[in-house]
Amino acid sequence: MKVCVTSTGRDVGSKVDERFGRCQYFIIVDTDSGEEKVLENQGIGSSGGAGIAAAQQIVGEGVEYLITGHVGPNAMQVLNAAGVNVYRGTGLRVGDAVESLKAGQLEQITGAVPPHYGMRYGRGV
């Protein structure tokens, strides 16, 4: 299965980025082949709708599972439409988060946080 983790750095030892739409990197791990891929988040520079852009990017990579901190309402709508399962990886390192997911230890996120939560409620417009 293909798992995407929002990451603060470029390797699996980095911490999970709490933010989805404006995270620094996506680390995509194929748990079957063990292959890893690091992508820069294309949504981070958006003036608005960062979560929507980020969601499209990872869906385009064929991701089935997402591990992050919080997801906003618009991004959640896109992820739901694409059938991506979202799990909370707050406080973990990227590699550990993937192992925890495989072990069934992560909490699934179904609800969205308010818009711009990752910007600490600042205006993103």
């Binding site: 958006s46 003036s47 709708g49 969601a55 869906v59 385009g60 709508q77 896109v78 439409a81 694409a82």
Partner: protein, 283 residues
């Protein structure tokens, strides 16, 4: 002639200056462009005769025509359209109404719908024409309303534009094509900081400007040096006064109170002087 009243910093007295000058200018037009909090009518109390809704374009995707090619989503700079797994999802509140998606759709599957974002109200206080834009609560972008307000400006009489605070899109759209920018400041470091940004903006747009110092007093020294250095004329001062604050807080006009009227008469005299100088120097 369009005269814009702006400040950079909020709460310096734009509306106070704009409505009181409008009251002294016989037969002028007052336009409240601060569409997020249009409060000039609290003071002018016009009888509202007309109210028109302001609409923006929002795309509507006709499902049966859409081939889910994703060209619209690729084009949209504001991420108002998402394309995933053969589905197109619309986020109307992010749309800026550019109509680009309509143009790029090869199936002609995107129709132009309208969405109301606010209204424009117009009426009179005696012979002062009063117009204001009102943005609906929760709407993120007021610029389309400000652009509609700009259409009311005409050459047949003076228009006083009460601008929003700040110096971003809504202010740029309000002050474009102004004959003069009246900058209202207060003698504080905050006031000076934001005013310098406002000055840069009006200079970039080639609009001549002058300044009014509100809540004037011993602290004026904080801002005065800047005017002198930049050669920006001071058109008047309104004293820091508990009485003025009391009149303002009741929603009354300072020009209706004998003691304060003269400060606005002085601003107006100086403004006329600067404007005739500007008119002369353009020949």
């Amino acid at each position: 002639m369009k005269i814009s009243v702006l400040s950079g910093k909020g709460g310096t007295g734009k509306t106070t200056v704009a409505v009181n000058l409008a009251a002294l200018l016989d037969g002028c037009r007052y336009i409240d462009c601060d569409v997020e909090e249009p409060n000039g009518f609290i003071f002018l109390k016009p009888r509202i005769e007309r109210s028109v809704e302001v609409e923006v374009m929002v795309p509507r995707i006709e499902g049966e025509k859409c081939s889910a090619c994703g060209k619209c989503a690729q084009f949209c700079y504001f991420n108002a359209i998402a394309h995933v797994k053969g589905r197109v999802i619309l986020f109307p509140e992010l749309c800026h109404g550019c109509e680009g998606c309509v143009l790029v759709c090869p199936q002609k599957a995107i129709q132009k719908d309208k969405r109301v974002i606010g209204k424009i109200e117009a009426g009179y206080r005696d012979n002062i024409e009063c117009i204001r834009g009102v943005l609906n609560i929760g709407e993120p972008v007021g610029v389309p309303i400000i652009q509609e307000l700009a259409r009311f400006v005409g050459d047949e009489k003076i228009s006083i534009l009460d601008c929003p605070p700040g110096s971003s899109c809504s202010v740029v759209n309000s002050i474009e094509d102004s004959g003069f920018a009246l900058l209202v400041t207060e003698p504080t470091l905050f006031g000076l900081h934001d005013l310098k940004i406002a000055v840069q903006l009006v200079e970039k747009l080639n609009i001549p400007c002058g300044v009014v110092i509100n809540r004037s007093g011993v602290q004026d020294i904080i801002v005065e040096e800047y005017w002198r250095e930049r050669g920006i004329p001071v058109l008047g001062k309104i004293p820091f006064s508990r009485d003025a604050a009391r009149i303002y807080s009741r929603g009354e006009m300072l020009v209706d109170k004998g003691r304060f009227r003269r400060y606005f008469e002085e601003i107006l005299d100086n403004l006329k002087g600067v404007l005739s100088y500007e008119a002369g120097s353009s020949y």
